[in-house]
């Protein structure tokens, strides 16, 4: 769909933008920046992902806790049904409850129900002010407790990112920006809003970090310093991927209150299989990205990687979490669906798939699980 890349209409009064499905995510915000507006969903892949792809995966991003995910910003779509009709679904009003909510069903359906060709998306005013805070901790437990306490203080941060020791070292190897290699965890936090509000909220965040034994905590003094902090966080995945020939980014997601347990479980799995796992992610959402660094060309490595992934999924589900917070199921995770869904719900998925796509021509292998295997 990459050639369907036009921004068709910008409606600043109703905070809407209409785009073709191949438009790159980042360019949506760029196109409305001069109107002091932005498109909130910000997947890590925003420089390459398309809006159609984001809708099909219901993409998340760093700002999930405060701003939600892609589905929260899709008002209406034009979609080509597998049976050939081109139809519109949804409404460009703020609220609409006419007929079944098919727009939200299409969001995250991974291209199995129709081909999205156009979308009208919601925008928000750019916050007048923001503040970024960087804090280091001796271990992931103190960092995770800080995450819980910040929200408990009534502060819904724009971003609340966690980075573990393996990832901190990988970033320092790559960027050489003077990160302390001895610390166990790092939190990178942004609050945004009206000027008076960000000051109040940044102060609360600073206090909560300190009361959770932060080794250090500082607020970026200006936008250059802030951009530098975020550059470090955005380099997490590329830094990790330089270490070994194969990088497998997972998407284990639990409740915020269970992050400590998930981190411990992932650590245990890394030790058990003697593999390297760097973990970073959107701690405010409980959405972690344990990233396995390995060499899939070596059969023994591939085999233990597969076992480790399965154990990560099982641990996540045992903690009340989900297989995927924002990346989707696709083909590789399809066999694990039965860890999370009951058979009647999976059967309904098949029936709904058949209602939309009776000839099974769209992404036939995706989210397809053999139940009696």
């Amino acid at each position: 769909m990459v050639e369907m890349n036009k921004i068709l209409d910008i409606n600043p009064v109703d905070l809407l933008v209409t785009v073709e499905a191949g438009v790159i995510t980042e360019s949506v915000s760029k196109a409305v920046e001069h109107l002091n507006l932005f498109f909130p969903p910000d997947p890590g892949s925003m420089k390459s992902s398309t809006i159609g792809g984001n809708i099909a995966e219901n993409a998340g991003g760093l700002r999930g806790l405060k701003y939600g995910v892609t589905k929260d910003y899709v008002n209406s779509i034009e979609i080509v049904l597998p049976t050939g009709e081109i139809v519109n679904m949804g409404s460009n009003t703020v609220k609409a409850v006419t007929g079944y909510n098919f727009v939200d069903l299409i969001c995250g359906s991974e291209g199995t129900l129709g081909v999205i060709t156009k979308a009208t998306l919601g925008l928000l005013p750019i916050p007048a002010d923001r503040a970024s805070i960087l804090s280091f901790f001796k271990d992931m437990t103190d960092a995770a407790k800080t995450v819980i306490d910040i929200v408990a203080q009534g502060v819904i941060t724009a971003t609340l990112e966690i980075v573990d020791k393996v990832t901190i070292n990988a970033i320092e190897d790559f960027l050489k920006i003077g990160l302390d290699r001895t610390v166990g965890a790092m939190l990178l936090i942004e609050v945004d809003g009206q000027k008076g509000a960000t000051e109040i909220e940044a102060d609360i965040v600073l206090k909560v970090c300190k009361s959770n034994n932060a080794l250090s905590v500082r607020k970026a003094k200006n936008s250059q310093e802030r951009d530098k902090l975020w550059e470090a966080r955005r380099a997490a995945l590329s830094s990790l991927s330089r270490i070994k020939p194969s990088t497998i980014l997972e998407d284990a997601t639990v409740q915020r209150s269970r992050i400590v347990e998930l981190v411990e479980a992932v650590d245990g799995i890394a030790q058990k299989y003697n593999i390297m796992i760097g973990t970073f992610g959107h701690a405010g959402d409980g959405n972690l990205h344990p990233t396995i660094l390995t060499d899939l060309r070596i059969p023994e490595e591939a085999e233990k990687t597969e076992k480790a992934i399965e154990e990560i999924f099982k641990a996540t589900i045992a903690l009340g979490g989900t297989l995927s917070g924002e990346h989707g199921i696709g083909i590789t995770k399809a066999q694990y669906l039965k860890l999370e869904l009951s058979k009647p719900v999976y059967d309904l998925m098949e029936k709904v798939k058949n209602a939309f796509d009776p000839n099974n021509i769209l992404n036939p292998g995706k989210m397809k699980c053999v139940w009696n295997s």
Copy 2:
């Protein structure tokens, strides 16, 4: 479901509450108030509506623009399928994209796909501060322009309510609180957030009201004064319903930028049929409630009421709006579905209905439209 009325679990760390489907909306917020949390969706019927009903209708409320609607706060549900299975759908993590998004499909499906028995709902911290502003205008046009300008200034208000002259007079008749009967429109606006932010935003709102020729504008000095203003707004429907034997509350919703046109269209229809229509609603969402005051026991009145309603729907759709912003379609609006939906989309609704409910035992007449009539 009214006897399934237990609040089962409150999880303040993850901002979640688990309730049975018969729990009254208002009691959810009351149950978590001591934790400084609230449940944002606030339909006008919050003192009597149940959570199961709210989910089935995807109920809205006064706080839609800033806080969204019911579906934005439903993490997971327990539902009895028409085929007898009791299943869970969704996830209690902040983000989840495992399998089709059935929770959002059930939201607003009006009890046609399953019987909701339990739900885990999202909560938010109670804002530290809020400010209410009351402003009067010579006509609805000035008031509607003010609504547009407030949002254009980057202020997303918690509520932004509009009330027309007919309704102002009805409220004054009922409550006798000294409202000026000669004004053409009233806006009632609330901003909330951190203390510094509400002051900045209230100032912007005051300025925008004045620059749109407000006849008067004032900020409530304290919470008693604020509660009094909201009492007046909450009395709109009950005040109108005292005027004539029959009250028909409609739910026409357009984009914010089209409110003036919708108001003019409704006025024209009232004159054409010589019927009384009071209009109030959630102007920030473009969600108006034109309320027809009539006597359906008189056949001629009933006939012209029906014609007027049809014209209101047609005008709403012609303005790019939707048949229902927050009340749903049910039986009485079902025949109008074809004004808004295309045949292939309606056919998909029937197929999905059949996938869930092959024996058509749940609410069989709801959202059912005879296409070739």
